[in-house]
């Protein structure tokens, strides 16, 4: 079932005016920021469907910018997020994309710094709830409101086992796990939603595990 908590229905507490177009948008932006791990200096945001048609009216641009600055849905500063982004030298461009998408409220965020970049697709499914459906070309399904770790690794024997062993050793329970890869033996992505936040020390151990290229996380 898509919705697991009564607080998905009564909640979130949020800055208006739209749970899908404002709160959901902020959560997609925030997920992108958290997964990227640092404040980007630029972002290009493609908006599709209803997002594209009505984003200015709903403050979707403010919300995504707020999310990229790390704001949550109930952060009053969302209202001034575009100005704040400018002050922080973060260049954000919004593009009304007419391409057809599966979900009416879809955003594709490309972001980065001078050194690295990332691309993420999020959908806002209603009531402020979101799903991250794509990361750097990998398909996935992640709610964005549970702690999660994302692990870029090489598709090799034992890569997954080494990760799950580390988590087990630190008593972190896996709620949902997905693995996808571009081709046999090539780049692969593990997405692990957990019941507990993954602390810094565990992250460091994970980064050193064999066949692991990059680890990022989403803290609840």
């Amino acid at each position: 079932m898509k919705y697991q908590s009564v607080f998905d229905i009564i909640g979130p507490v949020m800055v208006g005016p739209s749970s899908s177009h404002t709160a959901g948008a902020a959560r997609i932006g925030r997920a992108a920021r958290l997964i990227f791990g640092l404040q980007p200096t630029w972002a290009t945001v493609h908006l599709y469907g209803s997002f594209a048609k009505t984003y200015r009216g709903h403050g979707t641009d403010l919300a995504i910018a707020g999310g990229l600055l790390g704001y949550d849905t109930d952060d009053d500063r969302i209202r001034f997020a575009l100005e704040t982004a400018e002050k922080h030298n973060m260049k954000i461009e919004f593009i009304e994309d007419t391409a057809a998408t599966e979900h009416p409220n879809t955003a594709r965020i490309k972001l980065g710094t001078d050194d690295s970049s990332m691309e993420l697709v999020g959908i806002s499914i209603g009531g402020g709830k979101v799903e991250i459906t794509e990361l750097n070309g990998f398909e996935l399904r992640m709610s964005g409101n549970k702690p999660a770790i994302l692990i870029m690794h090489n598709d090799r024997f034992g890569a997954i086992a080494s990760v799950t062993q580390i988590l087990a050793k630190h008593e972190i329970n896996i709620a949902h796990m997905e693995v996808s890869r571009k081709d046999v033996g090539k780049d692969a992505l593990m997405v692990i939603e957990t019941d507990q936040n993954v602390e810094d020390d565990v992250m460091q151990v994970l980064e050193k595990a064999s066949h692991i290229n990059r680890v990022s996380r989403l803290i609840n």
Binding site: Y3, Q4, V15, P17, S20, Y55, I125, G126
Partner: protein, 294 residues
């Protein structure tokens, strides 16, 4: 986990507990949280709703200038004591409007189940409160009951206007409020589900056609209609009236109606009221340009 209203009622009846209690226990169970934590989080939501109503009743104007201050007009009108629809109903309407006016002004609200439909549940709650004098705990339980029904709708149909039209948002919100009013008034779980079904039936087919894409026109007045619909249907259910179509089937109908709605009527601001001459003129005025019309 209950998957539909039938299972929700089954669980309530099997343990002889209220719907709010089923929802509280499920939340504790699935998310491994204590009763205090779960009740505490809901109390914070209640607090936010209370503050939004208070703020709205003092008068706010949206950023676009399209909406605001209607909650104040209603309260002033009620104060004269000569209303046609009666104090409680108009109180619900004014508090629903207050909430959505604050939302339109990018103020802080609690989505119930969405921001655009955030007025129905608090509108009904804070109006009925004056009549029933509930404890704080009963007010928190009101939100769990509303949430239990919303949970079923969200998992079996939709609570998104972009997916299912306004019936999925204000329709769901009004029906959730209605079920919660029944429990607070001492009705049975069955009567809550009847109230839910009656309210949602009366909201079926409602399209999402916001002028200029803003959550203002007609959203704010739709919440007024939702809150009053909730209270009238609650009274009908408490009188013993039942819905000929069972609750879960009404939810199924809502889902299918939403699926067959054209995209122009699902939060794209391309059809309905948004596409009227005045709707387009307002959009032009707000954005200072004509979007994709030339």
């Amino acid at each position: 986990m209950f998957r539909n209203v039938a299972e929700l009622l089954e669980q309530a009846n099997a343990d002889s507990i209220s719907i709010s209690e089923v929802m509280i226990r499920q939340e504790m169970d699935i998310h491994q949280r204590s009763r205090e934590e779960v009740m505490g989080q809901m109390e914070r939501n209640l607090q936010i709703m209370e503050e939004a109503v208070e703020r709205g009743l003092k008068g706010v104007t949206s950023h676009s200038g399209l909406t605001g201050n209607d909650a104040v007009l209603l309260q002033q009108y009620m104060a004269k004591g000569n209303t046609l629809s009666g104090h409680l109903l108009l109180d619900a309407v004014s508090k629903a409007v207050a909430t959505n006016e604050v939302n339109a002004a990018m103020g802080m609200i609690c989505a119930t189940p969405t921001a655009g439909s955030a007025g129905c549940v608090p509108g009904a709650l804070f109006a009925v409160k004056e009549r029933l004098n509930p404890t704080r705990e009963q007010m928190i339980r009101f939100l769990f009951t509303a949430g239990a029904f919303g949970f079923v709708v969200a998992n079996n149909a939709s609570i998104s206007g972009a997916e299912g039209g306004c019936q999925a948002e204000v329709g769901s919100a009004a029906a959730m409020a209605s079920a919660a009013v029944v429990e607070m008034a001492g009705g049975t779980p069955e009567q809550s589900s009847e109230a839910f079904a009656i309210t949602l039936k009366n909201m079926l087919g409602l399209v999402c056609d916001p002028v200029a894409g803003l959550v203002e026109v007609p959203c704010i007045k739709r919440n007024a209609a939702g809150a009053s619909n909730a209270i009238v249907s609650a009274d009908m259910a408490l009188a013993g009236i039942t819905s000929r179509i069972p609750c879960d089937e009404v939810i199924g109908a809502m889902y299918r109606i939403g699926k067959s709605m054209p995209s122009a009527l699902r939060e794209t601001a391309e059809g309905g009221l948004a596409a009227t001459p005045t709707g387009r003129r307002l959009a032009d005025m707000i954005y200072g340009i004509t979007k994709g019309k030339e």
